[in-house]
């Protein structure tokens, strides 16, 4: 194996000292001189209503209020806060049925917390006080909290563009009968010896990143609109804002502040349209908004909840002859990326197992709930909960070990991946399963737990998953990178890739240093301002290390090539015969024939003219490496998770004991970063399985938009975690690396459900698996 200098080392993260001292600057920490404070006034009386009248006159009289805004006082142009529209071609956009159905402020409230007015004041307190003086009269409308209700005959239409409130279904003719898959599922089922089938509900989970949304915008005297935001996608927000306000992109500047967590909640826009609209209405004044924590559950997109039906057929020997699946998700009040999860979920069902035939249907329906969008996994965790439980049900009936079945029937190198036509190029799932099973002592525990009788029952479960590294070929993948070599042979690498805390800036810097052959400390990054770097879609689909890394590698190779060519001229050698070590370039095998990189770089910046010859003494020109990179693959990572837990059959409580999170990473550029992603993903995946769900009253009010009531697993709830990281370099990834970001969340969901199944012999089909549901199921089993 090649010896690497920095790749494979757990280098200290770039921004970590600024974060432990609190010096890292988040949007809320910025106070520009003369800042005014904004408040978006939200509807907390109804989840579905028309605003009959809005009286802002009393609010305007509060001391300190600068201006009050009704919907018509800001742009009333429709927009869509998601950015899927700019990641696909116009044809594809039409096929996906993408629509613009949001307004900055609305007179048709479609969910609890929809924005109806805005106030700008000299202090936050004055804005708050003014908000209390707004008088609104509503005409209540029927509230629909699931797809069945909103699609019924006579239901109020959310938008005339989407009849029956169906936001999306797989479109004809690309998907005949609105389905995707392969083979003839009906014929497949005829060959089955056993059928497993059930209806599931998957929950409305919230990212709950620790930094509440805060933004600043300024429309300055030169007509430049600047917005400070912790978006995951600065270069996608920039054209969206430009389009919404009819500005050329050169007049819009997005400054990405330190991102206090994203997980999808900041994919695309959240309140950027609002703060920019207010800034444009009050030119010259920086406008700041600090969104209260409780609004985060209402205003930024959550995971898609929905009804998930699945049916699978197996032969006695375990051969999976057919799978039929349908996911009907509840979109919330607006379209956003309405096609996205309904579509990708079919990808996740397609990607994992060698079914003889597969048929998948995906549909989205509007509901009177806060919007859904991207959340770490994008349909994959929902699928894991359903698919992996049914596989275990079949394994139980067929008396086949669930690990052995998965090893035999998972897709492998050369098989069609989650997207038809892009076959897997690497897969180490067998090794991940073997090592994981060993780490949790699978066989011994499965045997032991089969014999239990007491009140507290232990169980151990497994689930596997496949994810992606970037979203090609479905969505555009593109990152631009430039590498400037300074005269002292240090490098400045510029790109617009986001670090949301996952450590991508650290790992991308490692890739740059490794490629250039420079020490890590000689490489610095230029990041954060949308006008300082070329294009990058933004952080989504676990793409940053993979696509961004590919771009960084290509740009660094370009810079290195220029450096070596100049060295070759100076050393009178062939560039292919040169090597770089400690910033000295020398001829292979002749270490004395060398030139320092700094001599070349300095000569490029300072090409002094020789007074005798009139020509420069050195090779002129500062070296600039460049790439505009589109990956050729999506190198899916595979993972296997094992969970051991204990169920108290008297209380229904679950205690997590241990988990082994196995991941086929390709190459761990920074192992500590990889572990961090798996461990953090585990907290969210286990939480999705056991505790996390946004609850509604029958009239659509959100009941638990606080940290006390929206229960996430705390430090003492977490099990002992063992990471199993298998390195099997992928042919396409930078240094063989594949993604890890979203993947860590996925398999813990299914593994937890399967561990419960192993402990008490019951499968819970509704997320989250609460003690109440367990007790109810145990009582029903006892009664039967």
């Amino acid at each position: 194996m090649t010896e690497f200098r920095t790749v494979g080392k757990s280098e200290i993260k770039i921004d970590v000292k600024a974060k432990v001292t609190g010096r890292a600057v988040y949007a809320a920490d910025i106070n520009l001189p003369g800042t005014l404070h904004a408040k978006i006034v939200r509807c907390y009386e109804h989840a579905h209503a028309k605003v009959k009248s809005l009286d802002l006159s009393e609010a305007a009289k509060i001391p300190g209020v600068v201006k009050v805004f009704a919907p018509e006082d800001l742009t009333t142009k429709f927009y869509n806060q998601s950015v899927i529209d700019i990641m696909v071609s116009e044809d594809m956009r039409g096929m996906l049925g993408d629509i613009e159905d949001q307004k900055i402020l609305t007179d048709h409230v479609k969910h609890y917390g929809d924005g109806i007015a805005a106030i700008v004041a000299t202090t936050e307190e004055a804005a708050e006080r003014a908000a209390e003086r707004i008088k609104v009269e509503y005409e209540p409308l029927p509230v629909y909290l699931n797809a069945t209700e909103s699609s019924q005959d006579g239901a109020v239409q959310f938008t005339p563009q989407k009849p029956r409130n169906m936001a999306f279904e797989l479109p004809e003719p690309a998907f005949p009968n609105n389905t995707l898959g392969w083979g003839d599922a009906d014929e497949g089922f005829k060959e089955a010896d056993i059928i497993v089938e059930d209806n599931f509900y998957t929950s409305k989970q919230k990212q709950a990143q620790m930094e509440p949304n805060s933004y600043i915008a300024l429309y300055d005297d030169d007509g430049l609109l600047s917005c400070w935001t912790s978006t995951q996608m600065p270069k996608s927000v920039q054209p969206k804002i430009a389009k919404l306000f009819n500005l050329p992109m050169s007049r819009v500047r997005i400054i990405q502040t330190v991102v206090g967590g994203g997980f999808g909640a900041r994919l695309g826009m959240v309140l950027e349209p609002h703060i920019c609209a207010l800034a444009m209405a009050l030119p010259g004044h920086p406008i700041k908004v600090q969104s209260p924590r409780e609004e985060d559950w209402l205003t930024s997109p959550s995971r898609h909840p929905g009804d998930y039906w699945m049916k699978m057929g197996f032969k006695k020997d375990g051969t999976p002859v057919a799978c039929d699946a349908k996911f009907v998700n509840y979109k919330g009040g607006y379209y956003l990326d309405g096609s996205g999860v309904a579509f990708t979920t079919g990808g996740w069902v397609s990607g994992l197992y060698k079914f003889g035939a597969l048929r998948y249907k995906g549909e989205s329906y509007f509901t009177n709930q806060p919007v859904c969008g991207a959340y770490r996994g994008y349909g994959n965790p929902q699928t894991n909960f359903v698919l992996e439980q049914l596989v275990d049900r079949a394994c139980h009936e067929l008396k086949i070990d669930p690990v052995e079945w998965r090893k035999k029937w998972h897709k492998d190198v050369g098989d069609d991946g989650w997207c038809a036509g892009v076959p897997y190029a690497s897969c180490a799932l067998d090794e991940v399963l073997d090592e994981g099973a060993k780490a949790i002592d699978w066989k011994a525990k499965r045997e032991k737990y089969a014999q239990q009788t007491g009140v507290k029952r232990r169980g151990v479960g497994v689930a596997v998953m496949v994810h992606t590294s970037g979203a090609m070929p479905m969505l555009l993948e593109h990152t631009v990178c430039t590498v400037r070599l300074n005269e002292d042979a240090t490098a400045v690498v510029a790109f617009a890739c986001s670090d949301m805390g996952q450590g991508s800036h650290t790992t991308l810097r490692q890739i740059a240093a490794e490629t250039l052959g420079f020490p890590l400390e000689d490489v610095s990054l230029s990041v954060g301002d949308s006008n300082d770097a070329g294009y990058d879609i933004g952080a989504h689909a676990s793409r940053t290390l993979y696509v961004g890394g590919g771009a960084v590698m290509a740009a660094c190779k370009d810079a290195l090539k220029q450096l070596l060519e100049r060295a070759a001229t100076m050393l009178e050698a062939n560039p292919d015969d040169l090597e770089i070590e400690d910033k000295q370039i020398f001829v292979k095998g002749s270490p004395d024939r060398k030139v320092a990189a700094s001599e070349i770089c300095s000569g490029g910046v300072y090409p002094f003219l020789n007074p005798q010859t009139g020509a420069p003494d050195t090779i002129p020109g500062q070296i600039l490496g460049y790439s505009s990179f589109n990956p050729m693959h999506n190198s899916p990572p595979f993972g296997a998770c094992f969970v051991e837990l204990e169920v108290d059959t008297e209380t229904g409580e679950i205690k997590l004991i241990e988990m082994v999170n196995g991941h086929d990473i390709g190459r761990a550029i920074n192992p500590a970063v990889v572990e961090g992603q798996l461990e953090g993903g585990a907290q969210q995946g286990l939480g999705m399985a056991l505790t996390e769900e946004l609850y509604f009253s029958t009239d659509g009010k959100v009941l638990n938009n606080t940290f006390t009531d929206y229960k996430m697993l705390g430090p003492s709830d977490m099990p002992k975690i063992t990471n199993v990281i298998i390195e099997n370099p992928d042919p396409h990834g930078p240094f063989g690396a594949k993604s890890v970001g979203e993947a860590g969340l996925v398999a813990p969901v299914g593994a937890t459900a399967n561990a419960i199944y192993n402990a008490i012999g019951i499968q819970i089909t509704d997320l989250p698996i609460t003690p109440e549901k367990i007790l109810k199921a145990l009582n029903e089993k006892h009664a039967a």
Partner: protein
């Protein structure tokens, strides 16, 4: 609203300030004293992002504490744990070395909460650390590296004292 004059020592510097009685310590630190290292996470004492150290002993949620009640007290924020020369506190060092930081928004509070534990109990067990950190939410790390960082910090402090 009648204003109150208080004397607040923050990271060693004394501030004589006049404040409204409804202002929280978090408001005063961030807005009056321009010290944004203490974070607003929920404003209701549920997440711990605003944790500060009082009189070098006790950790509190600054979002739940009226600043007027802090007259004469000494407050330490995350920035104040570092020496003027730039040396990090052993807990900060341990968080850095152990990759216990991702998005960093919970980190100042998490570091101070951990300092508070080690002052009471210099050699806590893993269970004691986990229980103590309940109330400080991290959404990125799964707590694993934070817990081991606190253990590491305990050892660093013991070595420095020994």
């Amino acid at each position: 609203m009648k204003k109150h004059s208080i004397s607040l020592q923050v990271n060693g510097a004394v501030h004589e300030i006049t404040i409204q009685p409804n202002k929280t310590l978090l408001d005063v630190l961030r807005d009056e004293l321009n010290m944004p290292e203490t974070k607003y996470g929920c404003g209701t004492g549920e997440c711990g992002a605003c944790t500060v150290l009082v009189d070098d002993q006790k950790v509190i949620n600054s979002c739940l504490t009226l600043a007027a009640t802090m007259d004469g007290k000494s407050i330490t924020t995350a920035a104040g744990l570092q020496t003027a020369e730039g040396t990090l506190h052993p807990v900060q060092e341990a968080f850095v070395e152990n990759a216990a930081v991702q998005c960093g928004y919970c980190t100042p509070g998490m570091v101070l909460k951990s300092v508070g534990l080690l002052k009471k109990n210099p050699n806590p067990s893993e269970d004691e650390i986990r229980e103590w950190l309940e109330g400080n939410i991290c959404r990125c790390t799964g707590y694993e590296k934070i817990v081991t960082a606190v253990q590491l910090a305990g050892k660093k402090i013991a070595q420095a004292d020994g």
